[in-house]
Point group: C2
Chain length 480, copies 2
C-alpha cells in the first residue's frame, strides 16, 4: 500500500463535482474507443458529444482569418515569403499585417509574456470594450487567462478568505463555480433562476438566498451572473442587470459577470455589466463608484469556438490596488496564459472590418456559423416539443437547450435501484441506446423535484435528434 | 470603499511569495517601457531579463521543424496545397505527415481534447519514456498539462489534505513549490542542498528535515526533487536517485520529480526517477512496488524553449486508482491543456530521426542551441570568477548560475535602511545601474547568513556580462 488513497487526499478535491466531464463523459469516450476498434455490437455507429460546448469537435470550421494569422505566428519564417503567401496560398495583406503586429508585440509566441498578458493585446481588448460599451476601458485592468475558466479560478481564489466566505451562484449553473468553491472550501450560496420566466434572474430569489446565508453566518462577498446563461441561454434585460448592480452595491458584493456567450444571443440583446454599470455611474454621480466588477470573456464560445486554444480574459472595475497586486501575483505563479491563445483573443476582439481584404470571407463564415447554430437550436427545440413529458422554452442563446423531463415513478424506482438520480439514469440509458451524450440537470443544479438535461445544439445534421426522439418514446413506454 | 481589501482576501494567497516575477521583475518592465518611450536618462539602452528562463524572449530561435508542423495545425487548409508547401515554402514531407497525424488524432487544435490530453500524444510520450528508460510506460498514466507548473499545481492540490500535510522541498528551490503550498495552506518542509558538494542532495539533510517535521506533528507525505536543479543546475547521480527512492519507500513519501531540465546537462548525466525506480524494482522483486512517483516534463526548457506554448505532462507510477480518478476530475475542471501545446509536446518527444527529411536541419539547430547555452554559461562563470566576493561552482546544467555573494556590513546596513534583504538590495541596484534583472537568492531560499542571486545564461552576447562586472566593482567600492 502506497501513501495516498481516496480517504487521505485533499477532502475538498474529493468533494468537488464536475458532471460535464463526469461518469457519462467517461462512458461516452469508452464507447467511442469501442467503435473505433471496429466493434459493431452497439446500436449506433458514432458517438455525439452533446455534453460539452466544443464546436470544433462537432465539425464547426475555424474562421479562416484567425487561423491564417496563427499559422504565421507559429512559423514567422513564412513572412520572408510574402509572394508565396499571397499568390500561392491566397493569404490577404491584412493577414500578414496582423501577424507582423502581433509578433512585434509578443516577440515570439514561444516566449512567456508578462504575467497578465501581452500589453498590446490588452490595448486591443480595451478598444473593443470601448466600442462595445461606449465607455473607456483601461488595458492595465485587463488580465489574459487560459480560457475564462482560469480567470474564474483566479478570482474565486482571491475571494475565498475562509470557509465562511460565500459566493451567490445561479442554479442551474455551469459547474465550474460549485467545483471550484468546493476545492477552495468556500461556501456556495445558490439562488434559483426562474424557469417559468424563461430562466430569468429573480431579484427576490437572490435577496432571500442572500438573507438566509447571512442568517447562517455566511460572509457573502460575491454574486456570479452567467449572462447569457449556461445551461439556460437566457439573456438578462438591462433592467435586470441594473437591479443586480444596485443590489450588489447595497450589499457590498463583488460582481462576477461570466459573459462568455455574449455573441450567442437569439432572443433579446446582450447588455454587458460593465456598460450598464458605467451608465448607472454617469446617471448617479458617486453612487456606484464602489462597485467591484470582474467580467470574463473567452475565445471558446461565440462564433469563434476555439476551446482548445484556451484563450480568455477578465477586466476588473473598482478593485482595490493592493487586491489587484495580489491577483497579479497569483497569476504570476502559473507564469502566463498561452501566448498563441492570447493572440487569438486579439483576433476575436479586433476582426477584419468592412473594406479590409479579409472582411468578406470573415463575414460570410461568421454569419454561416451564427445561422447554423440558430437553425439547429430550432430543429432540436421542435423535436423536444413533440416528446411526451418534455418541456422546453424557445432557444434563447448560448449553445444549449435545458429541457424539463417528467419521468414515471417506475423509471424513478429503476434509477434508485441502480443507485442513480433519475436524470442520470435517463441520460445513461440515452447514451447506451443512441451514442448521444448529454448532461443530467443534477450536474448543474435544479429545483427539488424537477428533472432536466442539458444538450448542446452544435452537432451537425438531424439524424441524432431523431435518435433521441426514438429513444425517448421507447424509454417512456418501457417505464409506463 | 468596496468590499475587498488586502486584509480580507484569501490570506494564503496574500502570504504566497513568488520572486521570479516579483518587485524586481515589475520594476524591470517599467524600465523597459521607459526606454521604449524614448527615455534616454537611463544608464543603459535595453533591459536584459535574466530573471526567468525564457529563451525565446532572449532571441533563441524556435526549432524549424516544430514550428512548421504547428503552422499546418493552425491552418489545415494549407494541407490542400502540398505543392506550394514543398516547392514554395520548403516544407519537407515529414512535416506534412506529422501534421496530418496530429490532426487526425486531435480533430482540430481548436477543440477541447479529453481532460488528460489527446490519447495519441500520450502514446507518443509513452514510447519516448520507453526509449529513454528502457522500461514500458502506460499512456493511460500520462496527463498533459499547461506547462509543468500546472502539473505541480494539480499534484500538490491532491496531496494537501490539511494544514499539517507536509511536502519536503529542496532549498534553494523554484518558488512555484513554496508559493503553491502557501496558497494551499499546506506545510513546506525545507531541506537544504549542499552548496559545497556542487548543490547535491544530502540524504542526511533530508532525513533530519523529515524527522524534525514529524516531531512537530507534520504529516510529511511527499518529497520534491528538482533534477537537474533549479536554480542550481545540479544533476543527481544514480546513487543519489536510488537513495531518495529508498528513503521515500521506507517513509511512504510520494516522490515528485521535476525533470524539466532533463536535457540541459553539462556535467554528469541525467538519471530519470522512473528509470531508476524500475531498475530497483527489477533488482528487488516486490520491494519497491508501493513507491508512488509523479515525474514532470515540459516544452519550456531544454533546447525547445517554448515557454509561451504552455505544454507539459506528468506521468504517474504506483498511484491508487481512486486517487488517479480524483486527479482526472481535478484536471477536468479546467477542461484540458492547450491543444497546440500538447502537439508541441508530441514533437519534442518524437523529433525527426536520422534519415528523415527534416533531421539534418533539426539536428543542426538543436546542437547549435545546446552549444550556445554551454558557451554562454562558461563565459558568465568566468566573469563571476573574477568578481570580488563572488563564488560560483562550474556550470552544471539547467539555464542558471547561482553564485554566492559576500557583501560588506556597510552594504547590509544600507539594505536594512531601505527595508530590503541584502541580496534584494544588491539586485535592485544592479537592475538600476545595468538594466540586467536577476533574482535574489532569498526568492529561492538559502542557508541563513548566505547570499546569492540567480541569473539565466540565456542572453546573447557578452556586453551584459561586462555591465555586471563593472557594476559589481563599483558597488563593492561604494560599500567598502
Amino acid at each position: 500500500m502506497g501513501r495516498l488513497n481516496i480517504n487521505n487526499i485533499n477532502p475538498h478535491v474529493r468533494a468537488a463535482e464536475y458532471a460535464v466531464r463526469g461518469e457519462l463523459a467517461v462512458k461516452s469516450e469508452e464507447l467511442r474507443a469501442q467503435l473505433s476498434k471496429g466493434d459493431t455490437s452497439l446500436p449506433f455507429d458514432h458517438v455525439i458529444s452533446a455534453n460539452i460546448g466544443n464546436p470544433q469537435q462537432l465539425d464547426q470550421k475555424p474562421i479562416t482569418f484567425f487561423r491564417q494569422v496563427l499559422s504565421l505566428l507559429e512559423n514567422p519564417q513564412l513572412l520572408d515569403k510574402e509572394d508565396v503567401l499571397i499568390n500561392g496560398l491566397g493569404y490577404k495583406t491584412d493577414v500578414i499585417e496582423r501577424a507582423k503586429f502581433l509578433l512585434k508585440h509578443c516577440g515570439s509566441v514561444g516566449a512567456y509574456s508578462a504575467s497578465s498578458g501581452v500589453y498590446a493585446i490588452k490595448e486591443s481588448i480595451a478598444k473593443f470594450l470601448e466600442r462595445r460599451d461606449g465607455f473607456p476601458a483601461d488595458p492595465a485592468k485587463i488580465y489574459l487567462s487560459a480560457g475564462a475558466s482560469s480567470g474564474v479560478n483566479t478570482l474565486l481564489h482571491i475571494l475565498a478568505e475562509s470557509p465562511k466566505s460565500g459566493v451567490l451562484v445561479p442554479i442551474p449553473q455551469y459547474p465550474l463555480y460549485t467545483a471550484t468553491l468546493s476545492v477552495l472550501n468556500a461556501t456556495c450560496v445558490p439562488y434559483y433562476l426562474e424557469e417559468h420566466k424563461a430562466w430569468g434572474t429573480d431579484l427576490e430569489a437572490i435577496r432571500s438566498a442572500h438573507e438566509k446565508a447571512k442568517a447562517e453566518g455566511v460572509d457573502v462577498r460575491c454574486i456570479v451572473i452567467i449572462n447569457p446563461g449556461n445551461p439556460t441561454g437566457a439573456s438578462l434585460s438591462e433592467d435586470d442587470v441594473r437591479s443586480v448592480i444596485d443590489f450588489a452595491s447595497k450589499e457590498k458584493l463583488v460582481i462576477m459577470a461570466d459573459e462568455v456567450y455574449q455573441t450567442n444571443v437569439f432572443i433579446g440583446q446582450f447588455h454587458s455589466f460593465k456598460g450598464v454599470l458605467r451608465k448607472m455611474q454617469q446617471e448617479n454621480p458617486g453612487k456606484y463608484d464602489d462597485v467591484e466588477l470582474a467580467s470574463l470573456h473567452s475565445v471558446s464560445k461565440g462564433m469563434v469556438g476555439e476551446c482548445g486554444h484556451r484563450g480568455g480574459y477578465f477586466e476588473l472595475v473598482g478593485f482595490d490596488a493592493e487586491v489587484e497586486a495580489a491577483i497579479y501575483k497569483f497569476v504570476s505563479i502559473m507564469l502566463c496564459a498561452p501566448v498563441i491563445g492570447q493572440c487569438l483573443v486579439e483576433l476575436m476582439v479586433n476582426p477584419p472590418q468592412p473594406g479590409d481584404p479579409s472582411f468578406e470571407l470573415y463575414d460570410k463564415e461568421y454569419s454561416g456559423i451564427a445561422n447554423g447554430l440558430r437553425e439547429r437550436a430550432n430543429a432540436l427545440h421542435k423535436a423536444f416539443e413533440q416528446m411526451e413529458g418534455v418541456e422546453c422554452g424557445e432557444p434563447q442563446g448560448a449553445m444549449y437547450l435545458f429541457p424539463t423531463i417528467t419521468l414515471s415513478q417506475k423509471a424513478i424506482d429503476a434509477a434508485a435501484a441502480e443507485g442513480r438520480k433519475p436524470d442520470e439514469f435517463y441520460c445513461m440509458r440515452l447514451l447506451e441506446a443512441t451514442g448521444v451524450c448529454v448532461v443530467p440537470g443534477s450536474g448543474f443544479g435544479q429545483k427539488e423535484g424537477t428533472l432536466h438535461f442539458r444538450t448542446t445544439f452544435l452537432a451537425p445534421g438531424t439524424d441524432w435528434v431523431g435518435r433521441i426522439v426514438k429513444f425517448h418514446k421507447e424509454f417512456m413506454d418501457k417505464y409506463r
